[in-house]
């Protein structure tokens, strides 16, 4: 016979871990340490310890469900082993069919947000109205006030964006400097092209 779950032991932190486990089960969005501490009416440091216990208990490969640190909080998800079965039962409407235009717009909002549609259009060279509308409808970006003087609406990414892309926070995005060519590299290439045409 299997031994009972270790978390059922009677230590206070284990009991707190039970409560946090229950909170994560009923939550539909990641819960921060502060959310968990408020709901459990316990000390945030003890909550962190209890969450550590849960991360160990529900780590990948040990159980059908996994505790992950995502979007500024903690949440349960299915283990990767069960992904195919989940895919047969459920849809992924949020990220399904994201166009290249929508992905570029999403990247701009994630890195430069909050930013407005004119700013996005200026970078992409194409109007961003439909891409922005699509991303808002999917819940990946949301309005974040207006430009100074009651100007264009600005947008930022939502916690759902971080969850869909499995990011702990926006800080987990790769540095822009590590992506693409630098200005100097591009300038050199332009000069080369111009010199070749002149000759």
């Amino acid at each position: 016979m299997d031994s009972p779950l270790r978390l059922i032991a009677a230590s206070p932190v284990d009991r707190l871990a039970h409560t946090i486990e229950a909170l994560l089960v009923v939550a539909s969005a990641p819960l921060s340490i502060s959310d968990l501490a408020d709901a459990a009416q316990d000390d945030p440091e003890r909550v962190e310890t209890a969450v550590g216990l849960l991360e160990e208990r529900y780590r990948e490969g040990r159980s059908g469900i996994v505790v992950e640190r995502v979007a500024g909080g903690y949440a349960f998800r299915a283990s990767r082993d069960a992904a195919e079965a989940c895919a047969r039962l459920f849809e992924r409407p949020v990220e399904r069919g994201l166009s290249q235009a929508a992905l570029e717009t999403l990247a701009i909002v994630a890195y430069l947000g909050p930013c407005s549609r004119p700013e996005i259009a200026r970078i992409r060279g194409v109007a961003a109205d439909s891409a922005v509308a699509s991303l808002v409808e999917r819940g990946l970006i949301t309005e974040a006030g207006r430009e100074d003087g009651g100007g264009a609406i600005r947008y930022r990414t939502t916690p759902l964006f971080e969850r869909v892309f499995g990011l702990e926070s926006l800080a987990a995005l790769p540095r822009l400097d590590d992506l693409g060519e630098t200005t100097e590299e591009l300038r050199d290439r332009l000069v080369e092209v111009a010199a070749a045409r002149a000759s």
């Binding site: 539909s28 299915a78 994201l98 235009a101 109007a127 439909s130 759902l160 995005l173 693409g180 591009l186």
Partner: protein, 253 residues
């Protein structure tokens, strides 16, 4: 490819789906914004059609180049209406720098979008619960223990009609003119004449004004005569018959 076929080039863009000539018509009628159109996608469609043919049709290519460059200019003007002036003052070197900067910015965003695609692929086997956020319970409003009798007393006080507000202090109090009529008549019964200023000295300004009105009333009724040696000099009041007698005596003399 014939030039007419350039116009019939079938397009499937984000903002438009249909033949190229219809796209041009919509743009010229301003039913479609040039900035909505992905020019690169049109060029790719044209090149795909061109590749399907064995030989290059120069007429078709020429017509396409003219149309697409006009479209590109329209779009550029629409996208950057204020930037022509901004860029005019730039030296070629600075313009190249600016162009490189913008291209680099766009390249980085394209790379970031590519990273997001890769991330979606690697994170695609993460399944989690999604749904609207649960409604958080409203915190209970805590009130101090209440006494029903005290509440009733407060409500009774609120239900009572408010006391009438007295406006008496706003009314001007004038003494009746008749009071001064009688007073002046009595004085003239005792004396032949009197000095008005001396008679009303010590009265308030309102009472003095009413006294003057009484004086004018008596003058209008012909009971008294008034005389004043000079403007602002004392007003002398006398009985009318005394004044007539004095005047007659003076004329007789």
């Amino acid at each position: 490819m014939q030039p007419t076929l350039v116009r019939e080039l079938e397009l499937d863009l984000d903002a438009f789906e249909g033949p190229f000539d219809l796209l041009l018509t919509l743009l010229l009628k301003e039913a479609l914004e040039p900035r909505e159109i992905d020019i690169a996608a049109i060029v790719l469609s044209f090149l795909e059609r061109l590749a399907e043919r064995d030989e290059i049709d120069l007429d078709a290519c020429g017509e396409f180049l003219v149309l697409i460059s006009a479209l590109l200019e329209l779009k550029a003007r629409g996208l950057f209406p204020d930037e022509a002036a901004e860029l005019e003052g730039l030296e070629p070197e600075e313009a190249a720098e600016e162009l490189a900067r913008r291209l680099a910015e766009y390249r980085r965003m394209k790379e970031a979008a590519a990273w997001l695609v890769e991330r979606l692929a690697t994170e695609g086997d993460r399944w989690y619960r999604l749904g609207p956020a649960a409604l958080a319970p409203q915190p209970e409003r805590r009130l101090a223990p209440q006494d029903p009798a005290a509440l009733a007393e407060v409500l009774r006080g609120l239900a009572a009609p408010p006391p009438n507000v007295s406006l008496s202090h706003m009314a001007l109090r004038f003494p009746p003119v008749s009071q001064f009529l009688e007073r002046f008549r009595a004085v003239l019964a005792r004396r032949r004449l009197f000095d008005f200023d001396s008679e009303v000295a010590g009265l308030s300004r309102v009472e003095q004004a009413v006294a003057l009105l009484a004086l004018l009333e008596l003058r209008k009724a012909g009971e008294i005569a008034l005389s004043q040696a000079a403007p602002f000099a004392p007003i002398r009041v006398s009985r009318a018959d005394v004044e007539r007698t004095t005047a007659w005596t003076a004329r007789s003399a």
